[in-house]
Symmetry: C2
Subunit: 471 residues, 2 copies
């Protein structure tokens, strides 16, 4: 390994960091302090290099080569870091401050329980097979392997008029959201639930669908924020929502944990139909539903003409690291000129993507066997027990608590307080990482999201600490 | 599985197909004939449904619901299908015509040889581990796992001033090309080698960087096509190339198989520096290099200030289906305002992507062990023997043949003939799938690309058939 260029590269990095000072925070620990010595560089040489670097900075800052390529103005609109890397950064900083702290992460929504063996063994079998002539496969269909598309259609969309070829297998719902945004392009207007999963807004900003960030409102221009509060049962008052081309809607909801009822979704579909809008329905938590609410937008009659749906194996099978999801684009969904949305999405998938990993797809197929489904339901049941423990804890402390019943997220109200303040207070005093509600939009201010993903002992310990802090 | 809606969905699909008639070809077999009965629908019921459908079509065609969302005008600029799905479609049509034909595919550039066991066993071990508490991992760093980033840096960029944190692990170079285009946005101008890998152009069209397709020129407006022909040794005459913001450059080249010399790349880097351009260097075939040409753009002094590099395990380790690649974005590369390109790319990766599959990453790490590297080199050596056989065949038939020595592609000249005609002639008469040169841009007209990816027996058989056809 070579670090021969540490000195010169760090000096430009310093110049770059200076140039980047207007951005309030990096979206990850990617840009470490420029002079931070690599563990493979002997300490002995560091002081010498530092002197050289310090001398260089003042000279090179003026002469550092810059291309003549303008930075994408949409990228410059983005505020701070993408939420979750930002939380990871704060967690890291906390660990530096308290190296011995037993930090428990109920923040990022990352699964913690092992993947059932019936699923991993299918993946290891597929891996092993790749070293044999019979088992080897190269490029698969960009849309996913036929048996998996068929299994997704029959498992999640039986009797809903969704065919195998309406299913596009992907490496995850988050990635598909950007692919959908790329499909729609920069001229569409979008609406999001407020609060909402930040990828909808941030990808919209990147694709140029929005105006600038308006600091006083904590909103981007041109986005319709559909306020979801305890007062309206976390379902927006559609009579006050302006028409947009695209409506992002997540149910069961991340972060509020609420789930829209059938009657509410009928209204949403009617609203889209009246306005000629397209709903992007995010059902990544559908299997967490306890109540009799729809788990797919396609349970609503007519939805195939106004909606796509994106979903994921991440929270069902612990595939957050394995990467597998899907998007449903019904043939009936048409642009204003009658062109099928699915045909353009297919083109995006073929041009900008090359299919999900074949090994992950083997895992997905195993998930949808009777044994796989039952194993997934068991893991989901475990996380739902976690949720109940968290809900009960905050209830017992007198907090107003939402969500939890139909989603692995508990949405705790701290009326009148800043979410980031509460986040910091909890981290500082209990070493538990949560997620500040305002990270999901201005409508999340005053709330904190507590994720139920965690080992049982950690959930119990975190709740013990919450009780200590807030009793 | 339910097909209760076959009738209504097929009628809208028919309307959609009519609306879509202006697009000359689908990019895949995605839109099957709307009335094609599924194997799970009993034949007995089909005639009844067909009658119903036929009655409905005339009524519903007029009333099929359309949203009011305008189709993305950039999507509408795209011509026909993305090249490789289009070839897959023609292969499929050929198989329908000749169901008993022994079709050999030397078209799409898909790897065929099993992945060395040292690599697959690392992946199956990682898969198995995911079912244990100790071996489980959820979300990884979006930029890739640290040991893999370090191994890529030390294996491919030793002594080149590229650090671990300059490496962004991905699900493949093709996917990263779209992420880079998303980063650059719609206001940049781009240059491509002509001919070139179609993803550069098509992603540029989708992101809105180009004008309309000019049929008479077979080019998109606003793209600078850098002609690469036998006359200029497949390296563009830079004195005639207009300045663009971004220059896509692939060496060893897909499709021509040529590799730029050190002296040529020095000129390219100087050209970029003079113009303030950013080079996107595609080194996906670097390990196929036999001659002493650079395998990375970062072998050229100063390249870190003007270039990013994207590469892939696909053609090195047979990972076309496993999906793993990487992109290098040096800290020294700055936009005109001094903002580091890497910082925006990091934001794209964090917002629009969630990391490559952890199982694939375990495979990538195994690839870069001494045993993995030696196993990869063996497979690459096998494909290079294939290449030699193909080159010799066409040479013996009196064709002018290019490439082959530094890349797994042989670029055969059919002067004065249409590439698609030659493609069809070869397919019709030998049942061998190749790739028409014009699919890579107007500069590819009159050439056919023959891929060396194939089992040895198939390569020998294909060459026997070539000799029969062209002797």
């Amino acid at each position: 390994m070579s670090f021969s260029s540490v000195s010169s590269s760090s000096s430009s990095a310093a110049a770059a960091a200076a140039a980047a000072a207007s951005i309030s925070s990096s979206s990850s620990a990617f840009f470490s302090p420029p002079n931070f010595p690599s563990s493979r560089v002997s300490n002995a040489s560091v002081p010498v290099k530092r002197v050289g670097t310090l001398q260089c900075v003042s000279i090179e800052e003026k002469t550092a080569y810059k291309t003549k390529v303008s930075r994408n103005a949409n990228m410059a609109k983005l505020q701070a870091g993408y939420l979750f890397p930002e939380i990871a950064r704060r967690r890291q900083a906390h660990l530096l401050k308290y190296p011995d702290a037993q930090v428990i992460s109920l923040g990022i929504g990352d699964t913690t329980e092992p993947i059932p063996e019936v699923i991993t063994s299918a993946m290891s079998k597929r891996s092993d097979g790749l070293s044999t002539l019979e088992g080897y496969s190269g490029y698969g269909a960009e849309q996913g392997e036929k048996p998996l598309r068929a299994a997704i259609a029959s498992t999640f969309y039986r009797d809903l008029g969704i065919g195998d070829d309406d299913i596009f297998v992907s490496d995850g719902a988050k990635c598909d959201i950007t692919r959908l945004q790329t499909l729609f392009g920069s001229d569409v207007t979008i609406a999001v639930q407020d609060p909402s999963y930040p990828a909808y807004v941030d990808s919209g900003v990147i694709l140029g669908q929005t105006g600038h960030y308006q600091k006083e409102l904590e909103k981007y221009g041109k986005i319709e924020y559909m306020r979801c509060t305890p007062e309206n049962g976390f379902f927006p008052d559609l009579t006050t929502v302006a028409r947009t081309d695209v409506i992002f809607f997540c149910s069961p909801n991340n972060p509020t944990g609420s789930a829209a009822t059938r009657e509410q979704l009928i209204r949403l579909v009617q609203f889209a139909k009246d306005n000629g809008s397209i709903i992007v329905f995010d059902s990544a938590y559908g299997m967490y539903m306890s109540d009799d609410n729809p788990r797919s937008i396609f349970e609503i009659p007519g939805a195939r003409e106004v909606a796509v749906e994106t979903s994921s194996f991440s929270k069902y099978a612990g595939f957050t690291g394995v990467r597998l999801g899907w998007t449903v684009v019904p043939k009936e969904l048409l642009f204003s000129d009658g062109f099928p949305v699915a045909k353009d999405f297919n083109r995006i998938v073929c041009t900008c993507f090359n299919g999900a990993s074949n090994i992950a797809q083997a895992g997905g197929l195993a998930c949808l066997t009777p044994e796989g489904l039952s194993a997934m339901r068991e893991v989901i049941g475990f996380y739902k027990e976690n949720t109940a423990i968290i809900v009960e804890t905050f209830n017992s402390l007198g907090f107003k608590v939402y969500g939890g019943r139909n989603a692995p997220y508990v949405w705790v109200h701290f009326p009148g307080r800043s979410s980031w303040d509460v986040f910091s207070e909890i981290l500082e005093k209990t070493h538990v990482v949560t997620t500040p509600g305002s990270g999901f939009g201005p409508g999340g201010e005053g709330f904190v999201r507590v994720s139920a993903f965690g080992h049982r002992a950690n959930i119990i310990e975190a709740c013990r600490r919450f009780k200590q802090l807030y009793r």
